[in-house]
């Protein structure tokens, strides 16, 4: 079971590295916001995985709150870019 955790953490880190490269390179604000949205979903999956690794039931609450509230920042930035805030 440990080798599955190692492989998963490595794949999540690689996906986050690609998102950070897009965040630095991205030509406009839309590309950077897309990178932030992707990193939010990756981090929710990573928090659930860490709570399973530590075997603490209460740690999954952090992932729950992050999944509930994580999209508000992206929506506010998108409404500002649209010019309708």
């Amino acid at each position: 079971m440990d080798i599955i955790f190692y492989i998963t953490i490595g794949l999540l880190s690689l996906g986050m590295i690609f998102s950070i490269i897009r965040f630095i390179k991205g030509p406009t604000a839309g590309d950077r916001t897309v990178a932030l949205d992707t990193m939010t979903t990756l981090m929710v999956a990573g928090l659930v995985l860490l709570s399973a690794v530590f075997d603490r039931f209460i740690y999954a609450d952090v992932a729950l709150i992050y999944g509930v509230l994580g999209f508000i920042g992206v929506i506010v930035i998108a409404r500002y870019l649209e010019g309708a805030l």
Binding site: M43, L47, I65, L69, G70, I77
Partner: protein
């Protein structure tokens, strides 16, 4: 115990890189998006360092409230740093 060192080091690198990007960026909207990346890395770091209550507070405040307040500030003032002279009244 080796993978925890890897996770902490990776999240610290992301944190410091996003903070330097937010400081040296002239476009303030990009700096606000970098602030979201900072709060994301900080949440993961607090969870790895066995402080779930602090991570809960950081996830609630850093993601939603900070971004909303900074975006409203940018909308009421200016977006670029060079436009300091003609602030909208």
């Amino acid at each position: 115990m080796n993978y925890l060192v890897f996770i902490i080091g990776f999240l610290l690198l992301v944190l410091i890189g996003a903070a330097l990007y937010a400081v040296y960026q002239k476009d303030l909207l990009y700096a606000v998006i970098a602030t979201g990346v900072i709060s994301l890395a900080l949440t993961g770091l607090f969870l790895v360092l066995q402080a779930p209550d602090v991570a809960l507070t950081e996830a609630a405040i850093g993601v939603a409230l900070t971004t909303i307040i900074f975006i409203i500030t940018i909308r009421n003032t200016v977006r670029y740093e060079d436009e300091k002279d003609n602030v909208k009244k």
